[in-house]
C-alpha cells in the first residue's frame, strides 16, 4: 500500500463547496485545496487564499520591456549606427515610443504567463489527484476538496469527520 496523499471529498453544488471551504479554513488547515471545473467566484476568500502574486512578475516584465526598447533604439542611434534622416535627432524618445510600447506589452505577456506557471508549479504532469478515478468529474461538473496528509493538523479520522460534517460526499483516501 502506498503512502496516503490526503483525503478527497466531493460536493455537488457551488454553495455546498463554498460553505465547506469556509469550515475547512476555520478548522485551521493550510495544506489543502478545492478542485473546481471553473473559477468559483469568491472562493479565494472562503478558502483564505491571498491575492495572487502574478502582478509582480507582470510589472517586472513591463519595465524590462520598456527599457529594452528605449535602450536598444538609443544604443542604435547614438552608438552603433548614427544615421541622419531629414535632420532629425539620432535618438528621441518620441520615435522610440511605439516600439518600446509594443515591447512593454510583449515582455509583460511573457512575464505574466511565466509567473503564472511558476506560481502554479506548472507544468506538473504527475500529481496524486490526477490519478484519482473521480478526478474526471472535477474537470466536468463536480467540486472537490482535498486535504493533504502532510498538513500539520491532518488526522485521518478527524479530517474525515470534518469533511463529512461539511457536507462532503464519497470521501476517499488519495494515494501518493
Amino acid at each position: 500500500m502506498n503512502k496516503t496523499y490526503g483525503l478527497i471529498a466531493a460536493f455537488d453544488t457551488t454553495p455546498d463547496l463554498y460553505h465547506a471551504c469556509e469550515k475547512v479554513r476555520d478548522a485551521g488547515y493550510s495544506q489543502w485545496d478545492a478542485l473546481t471545473p471553473f473559477p468559483v467566484h469568491g472562493l479565494d476568500a472562503a478558502m483564505g487564499v491571498r491575492r495572487s502574486k502574478v502582478p509582480r512578475f507582470s510589472l517586472a516584465g513591463g519595465i524590462t520591456g520598456f527599457c529594452t526598447g528605449m535602450g536598444f533604439i538609443a544604443w542604435l542611434g547614438l552608438v552603433e549606427y548614427p544615421l541622419v534622416v531629414g535632420g532629425k535627432p539620432a535618438f528621441s524618445p518620441m520615435f522610440a515610443f511605439p516600439v518600446s510600447y509594443e515591447l512593454t506589452i510583449l515582455f509583460t505577456a511573457f512575464a505574466t504567463i511565466g509567473g503564472m506557471f511558476f506560481l502554479n508549479r506548472l507544468p506538473m504532469h504527475y500529481h496524486p489527484v490526477l490519478k484519482a478515478p473521480q478526478f474526471v468529474r472535477a474537470m466536468d461538473d463536480r467540486f472537490y476538496i482535498v486535504i493533504e496528509a502532510n498538513d500539520p493538523k491532518f488526522n485521518a479520522a478527524e479530517t474525515r469527520a470534518l469533511l463529512a460534517r461539511a457536507g462532503g460526499k464519497d470521501i476517499a483516501e488519495l494515494e501518493e
Binding site: T36, V40, R51, L76, L83, P98, I105, F117, D140, D141
Partner: protein, 477 residues
C-alpha cells in the same frame, strides 16, 4: 404652504425605491447544466469527423494551394509578377495585409476589452474569435514578408527584424514600417499566448475524458498541452489574475496595432493618407470588419453543431449592435475626411477626395460606401437581427466593404499624387488575385483544423456564467 394637502396627494419622496426588476437575458438557454456544456463542446472534438468537414477541408486545401503557387512563382521570378508599377508601388499586398490584420481585431476585442467590461456574453464566442485572430494574423503576415520578393532578406538579417545585414546597415526606427514589424509580431505572439492560456483548463478536461475512455495517445497529447492542469482553486487564483492582466495589456495592444498600421499611411505626405483621423478610424474599421468575420464564421458553426443554447439570439444581437456602432463610426470618418479636405483648403487633399468618389476608382469607392455605411444600418431592425441567414449575408458585405476600404485608401491616393505626369491606373495581375484568393483557403484550412481538434468554446468560462455557478445560490445579482 396651506395649499399643500398632504392627506390625498402622493408623497413627493417615496419611503422606499423599488426599481423595476428586468430579468437579464440568459447566456445559456434552456437551463443547461455543467455536464451538458462539457458533453456538447467535447463531443465536437471526440466524435467522428463529419463528412462536411472533409469536404470543406479539401476545398480549403485546394484554395490554399493557390497562395502557395502564387508565392512560389513570386519568389522564383520576382515582384514583377504582381501588378505594381509607378506610381502605385503599394497595392494589393498592403491592402490584403491591412484587411487581414483588421479582421483579427475583433478576436482580441472580444477576449480582452469585453472581458474588462464584464460583458459575459463574450464567453461562448471568444475562443473561436481568438483563433480567428491568430489565423488572420498568419494570413496578414504573408504579405509584408513576401512583398520584398527575396524573402530570405525579410526574415534573416535584413528588412524587417533588427539585425544588421552584411553591410552593417540597421533598420530606421523613425519609420512607421519598422514600428509595424514590432506591432504585428507582438500582436501575433500575445494573441497566441492569450489563446493558449485560455485553452489550458479545457485541454485538461479533454485529457481526463480521453484517459477515462481509454484513448491514451490522445490523452497524452492533450495532457502535454494541458501542462498538468488540475483546476485547483490556488491555481485558479493565479490563473484568473494572469488572465485579467493579459486582458489588461491586450486592450492597449489591440488599439495600438491598427493605430500603428494607420501610421504607415498617416505619417507619409501623400494626399488622402496624411490625416490625423486615421488611427481611430482604422481601429473602428478593424473592429467592424472583425465582427463581420466573427459572424461569418460563427453563424454556420452554430447551425451545424446545434449551438443555439450557447450562442443565443442575445449573442447575435450584441454582435450586430457592435457592427452597427463601428460601421456608423466608419461612416462618420468617411464624411469627416471629406469635410476636412474641404475645410483644410489644401487643393491636393481636396482633389484626392473628389477623385476617390468620382474618379477612375469611383466604382470601388461606392462599393465601399454601400457595404460599410449602408449595410450595417439594417441592424437597427430587430427583425433583421433575428433573421440569421440575413445577418450572415450582411456580414459578408461587411467583409467585402472593408477590403474595398483599404483598396480605396491605398490605390486611389497613389494613382493620383502630386504630379499629373506620373499619374497611372493600377490593375492587379492574375498572380496577385490568386495569391489573395488563396489566403481565404489558408484561413479556412487553419480554422477547420481548429474546430476539429480544439474545444471551440471555453467550457470553464461558459460554466462560470450560468446561474448554478454562483456560490451564493442565486442568479439575481
Amino acid at each position: 404652504m396651506s395649499a399643500h394637502s398632504t392627506d390625498h396627494a402622493a408623497p413627493a419622496i417615496l419611503a422606499e425605491v423599488k426599481p423595476v426588476v428586468i430579468p437579464r437575458r440568459e447566456l445559456v438557454e434552456h437551463g443547461r447544466d455543467f455536464h451538458w456544456i462539457t458533453e456538447k463542446v467535447c463531443g465536437i472534438v471526440e466524435g467522428p469527423t463529419p463528412l462536411w468537414w472533409w469536404i470543406c477541408f479539401s476545398i480549403a486545401g485546394i484554395v490554399a494551394s493557390f497562395t502557395v503557387a502564387g508565392l512560389t512563382y513570386l519568389v522564383s521570378t520576382g515582384v514583377g509578377v504582381w501588378g505594381h508599377a509607378n506610381p502605385v508601388n503599394w497595392a494589393w499586398d498592403i491592402v490584403n495585409f491591412v484587411f487581414w490584420i483588421g479582421i483579427g481585431h475583433a478576436g482580441t476585442l472580444i477576449s480582452a476589452i469585453l472581458c474588462l467590461l464584464r460583458q459575459k456574453w463574450r464567453t461562448s464566442i471568444n475562443r473561436a474569435s481568438e483563433a480567428m485572430t491568430i489565423f488572420a494574423v498568419v494570413c496578414a503576415a504573408i504579405f509584408p514578408v513576401f512583398h520584398v520578393g527575396r524573402i530570405w532578406f525579410a526574415v534573416m538579417p535584413g528588412y524587417l527584424f533588427p539585425f544588421p545585414n552584411s553591410n552593417a546597415i540597421w533598420q530606421n526606427f523613425r519609420s512607421p514600417l519598422e514600428w509595424d514589424v514590432f506591432a504585428v509580431s507582438t500582436y501575433g505572439t500575445v494573441s497566441v499566448l492569450f489563446w493558449y492560456v485560455g485553452l489550458i483548463p479545457d485541454l485538461g478536461t479533454l485529457r481526463d475524458r480521453f484517459t477515462a475512455s481509454g484513448k491514451l495517445l490522445k490523452a497524452r497529447i492533450y495532457g502535454f498541452f494541458a501542462m498538468g492542469w488540475r483546476g485547483s482553486n490556488r491555481q485558479w487564483s493565479n490563473y484568473e489574475m494572469a488572465y485579467l492582466i493579459l486582458a489588461g495589456i491586450a486592450t492597449p495592444l489591440v488599439l495600438s496595432v491598427h493605430t500603428i498600421v494607420s501610421f504607415d499611411f498617416a505619417v507619409s505626405l501623400i494626399p488622402g493618407w496624411h490625416t490625423t483621423i486615421f488611427p481611430p478610424y482604422f481601429v473602428a474599421g478593424a473592429i467592424f470588419s472583425g465582427f463581420g468575420m466573427v459572424m461569418t464564421l460563427m453563424l454556420p458553426l452554430r447551425g451545424i453543431y446545434r449551438l443555439e443554447d450557447l450562442i443565443t439570439q442575445y449573442h447575435i444581437d450584441c454582435m450586430c449592435k457592435i457592427t452597427l456602432a463601428t460601421g456608423t463610426m466608419v461612416g462618420y470618418a468617411y464624411s469627416m475626411e471629406f469635410f476636412i479636405a474641404w475645410y483644410g483648403a489644401n487643393p491636393y487633399e481636396g482633389f484626392a477626395f473628389i477623385n476617390r468618389a468620382f474618379g477612375h476608382y469611383a466604382w470601388a469607392y461606392w462599393i465601399m460606401i454601400g457595404c460599410n455605411v449602408i449595410t450595417p444600418q439594417f441592424f437597427w431592425f430587430k427583425a433583421v437581427r433575428e433573421n440569421t441567414t440575413l445577418v450572415w449575408v450582411l456580414s459578408i458585405f461587411v467583409n467585402v466593404g472593408m477590403w474595398f476600404e483599404r483598396f480605396v485608401i491605398i490605390v486611389t491616393s497613389l494613382a493620383r499624387d502630386f504630379l499629373p505626369s506620373s499619374w497611372g491606373y493600377y490593375s492587379p495581375s492574375i498572380v496577385e488575385i490568386f495569391t489573395f484568393f488563396g489566403t481565404f483557403g489558408v484561413f479556412s484550412f487553419l480554422f477547420l483544423l481548429f474546430i476539429r481538434f480544439v474545444p471551440i468554446m471555453p467550457m470553464s468560462e461558459v460554466k462560470a456564467v450560468i446561474p448554478a455557478a454562483d456560490p451564493h445560490g442565486s442568479s439575481k445579482h
